[in-house]
Symmetry: C2
Subunit: 253 residues, 2 copies
Amino acid sequence: MRITIIGSGNVATHLAAAFKNAGHRIVQVYSRDMQNAALLAYHVGAEPIDNLNQVNPETDIFIISVKDDAIISTAKTLSKHQKLIVHTSGATDLSSLSAFTSNAGVFYPLQTLSKNKEVDFFTVPLCVEGANETITFELEQLAQTISNHVYRINSEQRKILHLAAVFACNFPNYLYSIAQQLLAKHNMEFELLRPLILETAQKVQDHLPAEVQTGPAIRNDKNTMAIHLQMLNGEPEMKNLYELLSQAIIKNI
Amino acid sequence: MRITIIGSGNVATHLAAAFKNAGHRIVQVYSRDMQNAALLAYHVGAEPIDNLNQVNPETDIFIISVKDDAIISTAKTLSKHQKLIVHTSGATDLSSLSAFTSNAGVFYPLQTLSKNKEVDFFTVPLCVEGANETITFELEQLAQTISNHVYRINSEQRKILHLAAVFACNFPNYLYSIAQQLLAKHNMEFELLRPLILETAQKVQDHLPAEVQTGPAIRNDKNTMAIHLQMLNGEPEMKNLYELLSQAIIKNI
């Protein structure tokens, strides 16, 4: 397919590379910042542009991968070309696009992507939704050229998924950070905890989390929890989190 | 070395197997339950016993890997043999043993171990502490026969490490569980989130967690957070956690 990438952030970068690798043609890469546009465009053999009026209408799909609050205005500008327009946002309804065009869809990669970290895109779950069955099918076909994990997910489900991802990714990472701070304060390297963190994530790759829950709270080991809370006396925020998370685990035993 | 394993739980099982593989001789395996003792003893070519009076004093080290609250009484019984005694508990001071013998130490594997899940023990961080430098050195040497990650960690540090592990392992696993419940309620498979969970843990293998924090809270994206909180209206516990964790992330930006 002929693909136009609108945006040059993490998602845009990884998607453009995956499409290019799969043999698609990236027509143009747009970014407000010409340097960013040029950098990504160079990598994927596309033309860089920094003005939406320079968009080449000879394309099959516009993939809008910009900040959530810029999606609507971008879609509005692109809609005059009457080509398929999709966004890549977990938190944005399909209706944000379908207000301007019936030729709309969503192409949401459910992964934490960083520009400077390679990822095997075939392992990334891709959630697609189209304004009608023809579009959904077309997006599904396109998704399968770059990922082995393609799901049909509607806007309501995608919002839940986006929320669940906060619990599954953003919050655990913050807890890793608390652990790292505790170690640093007592002259220990974060290195000590890295294997534990990795194994914890690996365990739920073939189990449900509830099946492999461990720790003082699930054992209702009041003695250990009391000691831990006492150790956190100087850290009211950590103590609060320890208490709330432990109580939640105990209640759900 | 000649090693006697006291206990037949997850840690005892993995340690016994690792020692056996490294060429040590497992003399006996003790468990209150003869069936458990026999099962592990059979795997590592040792004699099973279910009574501490049957302990063979012809050994170099007793490794006590029982529930925390049974460590002291077990050590008391074994101390008459005047051999090196160590425990494997993250939450227990060395002094719990040294009350009975000066020939004491700690041998703490910092990993979440399950009997039915193989683990490459050479990747497991092993934290050792001895009642004196000779013992510490001996334990360090022993540890290096089964792990590439051996650390000298004193009792105070080990308590912090144990607390940090709750934040790095037990609590993240519970958050995975919340995410799984959210998905299940909306007819989505946990499968969708597994790659994200794994990648989140992989990212901190060569970064500090604070460097790779993502999500609405770190961006202070009030709009998305408000939508998420509204979606959690029917789940007061999840809502509470969402709020507390987000506030903590925002405060620490």
